[in-house]
């Protein structure tokens, strides 16, 4: 009984935290979308970035990866770029996966792992917090500055 209650409280705290901090995150940090590509002057529009992270092709052979749902950067990205809640996005990917249409981007645990993957994989693309220091070989193809 005690353990169950603790788990329930933890879930509630998690959801409250997400609700609370999502407002803070939006106020503080900007976003950058970074890719391992050869061309230097590639710049995508917000719509194209949205399409890319929702599984559509945008002309380049990108390999899309993302941060986990618990990441505040992800919450900012969902709110500012995708325009949908995490729950709605998870429903969308379930619909895509189980109708055999698309598979969701690979999820990494943190920004270091993502940068590692970006450096080692040609065509890899991911979004990161604008304050992240990225290696020079990676190109920024989209940016929103802090609000």
């Amino acid at each position: 009984m005690g353990v169950g209650l603790l788990r329930l409280l933890r879930f509630l705290c998690f959801s409250m935290l997400v609700l609370f901090t999502s407002t803070i995150a939006m106020a503080e940090d900007g976003l950058i979308v970074v890719a391992n590509i050869k061309e230097s002057n590639v710049s995508l529009s917000k719509q194209q970035i949205r399409g890319l992270f929702m599984g559509s092709s945008v002309g380049y052979d990108f390999k899309v990866v993302t941060l986990p749902p618990s990441s505040l950067t992800r919450v900012t990205f969902n709110t500012k770029i995708i325009g949908l809640t995490e729950a709605r996005i998870q429903s969308y990917w379930a619909q895509m996966r189980f109708s055999g249409r698309k598979t969701e981007p690979r999820v990494f645990t943190n920004e270091d792992e993502i940068i590692d993957y970006l450096l080692n994989t040609e065509g890899a693309v991911a979004y990161l917090s604008a304050s992240t220091i990225i290696p020079k070989s990676l190109k920024v193809i989209y940016r929103i500055d802090s609000i």
């Binding site: 194209q48 559509s56 809640t85 429903s91 379930a94 996966r97 189980f98 109708s99 055999g100």
Partner: protein
């Protein structure tokens, strides 16, 4: 039950070989545990009666995708369903060939892509309701077919369009509104759908048609009798096969805080026991992550062809018998018109799980079936409330 054991075995086999298998195998699945009850003791709806039942919508499914090469894969979905009206077993099995990222061909057994959520109808996690509005999603149709499909996705900067076309056949029993089962066959059944998606708006329009045939020997026999008596017009009207057509239009509008969904379908059928149907639903929802609140109004109208008056009464007892027989057939045609108003809440307490609660107020048509399975016709007022709670899980 055997299917469930097989699936659990497969689950453990695959998860224990997960690392080597992960390059070529994708293993996923979904499950729902749904409990519900109807507040009326004179009828049942969708299998729910006055008792509490876990076995009308609960299910477990496993999907396996094996990559044969970079562009070719095989997908199968095995499903174990708690309801007696659904067969458990291989739900689909098809080969996918993707020559480019935008083009995809499928061949095999797949779900019929009639409506917006048709191909994920069992994946409760994919939509906000517990039961998608029955007026649209339970409309006398077969839910899988054997055939081929082709789809193409066009992406522009601001929007995308997906085209899908398919052709196939079906030969199995259809469960009509959870109340009766008919053997049916569809040949050269084809369809085309177009999905337009932009930032907040998604519009899907589709049309489907094909030669459909129901196996109703009594009807065919009676039709022959009428033909022998030269009542050809009436005999012709008692058809159990013909070209049925279905048109669909669905719209979804998503903002961060709220969403709207609407879908309309129209079925026209020359087959006697499949009426012309117009159904629609409207859903409005409010997002307060991790909660989603929604309300839905749904309605349908059902119409059969007018009864013919070719057979005269009072000519002879034999002809009267024929007229009575024809009249009886007409009176037994079911009218599944029903209005419903649902409210529900969904709680995404975990990334891959959701808890839902839903209350549906049903108002059927006086004297008609209205999707109900009626046990006490005199006492039943065609109004009832359905309460359901569900746990959805995708893995």
């Amino acid at each position: 039950m055997r299917t469930v054991y097989l699936m659990v075995l497969l689950f453990f086999m695959i998860s224990s070989h997960a690392n080597e298998a992960s390059k070529n195998f994708n293993f996923s699945g979904f499950s729902r545990v749904v409990v519900g009850t109807l507040d009326d003791k004179n009828a049942s709806f969708e299998g729910y009666d006055n008792s509490i039942s876990f076995s009308q919508r609960s299910l477990l499914a496993i999907q396996l995708e094996a990559n044969i090469s970079e562009k070719v894969s095989v997908t199968t979905q095995l499903l174990a369903h708690s309801s007696e009206t659904r067969d458990s077993g291989v739900e689909w099995l098809y080969l996918t060939y993707r020559p480019t990222k935008s083009i995809r061909f499928k061949a095999g057994r797949m779900r019929t892509p009639f409506f917006t959520y048709s191909d994920v109808l069992d994946v409760g996690f994919a939509y906000p309701w517990i039961s998608p509005p029955q007026q649209v999603y339970n409309a006398y149709l077969f839910d899988y077919l054997d055939g081929v499909s082709a789809s193409y996705e066009y992406s522009a900067a601001d929007f995308g369009i997906e085209f899908e076309a398919y052709i196939g056949e079906f030969d199995d029993t259809i469960n009509v509104g959870n109340t009766s089962e008919e053997k049916a066959k569809a040949t050269n059944f084809s369809g085309l759908s177009i999905l337009f998606k932009s930032d907040k708006l998604q519009i899907r329009a589709s049309t489907h048609s094909g030669e459909t045939e129901f196996e109703i020997p009594e009807l065919d026999q009676f039709s022959s009798m009428l033909r022998l008596a030269s009542f050809n017009q009436t005999a012709d009207s008692l058809v159990s096969k013909g070209n049925a057509r279905l048109n669909q239009l669905g719209v979804t509008y998503d903002e961060l805080d709220y969403f709207l969904k609407a879908e309309w379908i129209g079925i026209s059928s020359p087959i006697l026991i499949v009426p012309n149907i117009n159904s629609y639903y409207l859903t409005a929802g409010y997002n307060l992550f991790p909660f989603t609140f929604h309300a839905t109004y749904a309605n349908n109208s059902v119409s059969y062809e007018d009864m013919l008056t070719e057979i005269p009464y009072g000519l002879s007892p034999q002809v009267d018998a024929l007229a009575a027989g024809y009249s009886n057939i007409y009176n037994s045609l079911d009218d599944d018109s029903v209005k419903s108003l649902s409210i529900g809440v969904r709680w995404d307490f975990n990334i891959s799980m959701a808890l839902k609660a839903e209350l549906t107020h049903l108002k059927g048509k006086q004297g008609e079936r209205s999707f109900f399975n009626i046990t006490n016709p005199e006492d039943f007022d065609r109004r009832a409330n359905l309460v359901q709670v569900a746990w959805e899980w995708v893995f």
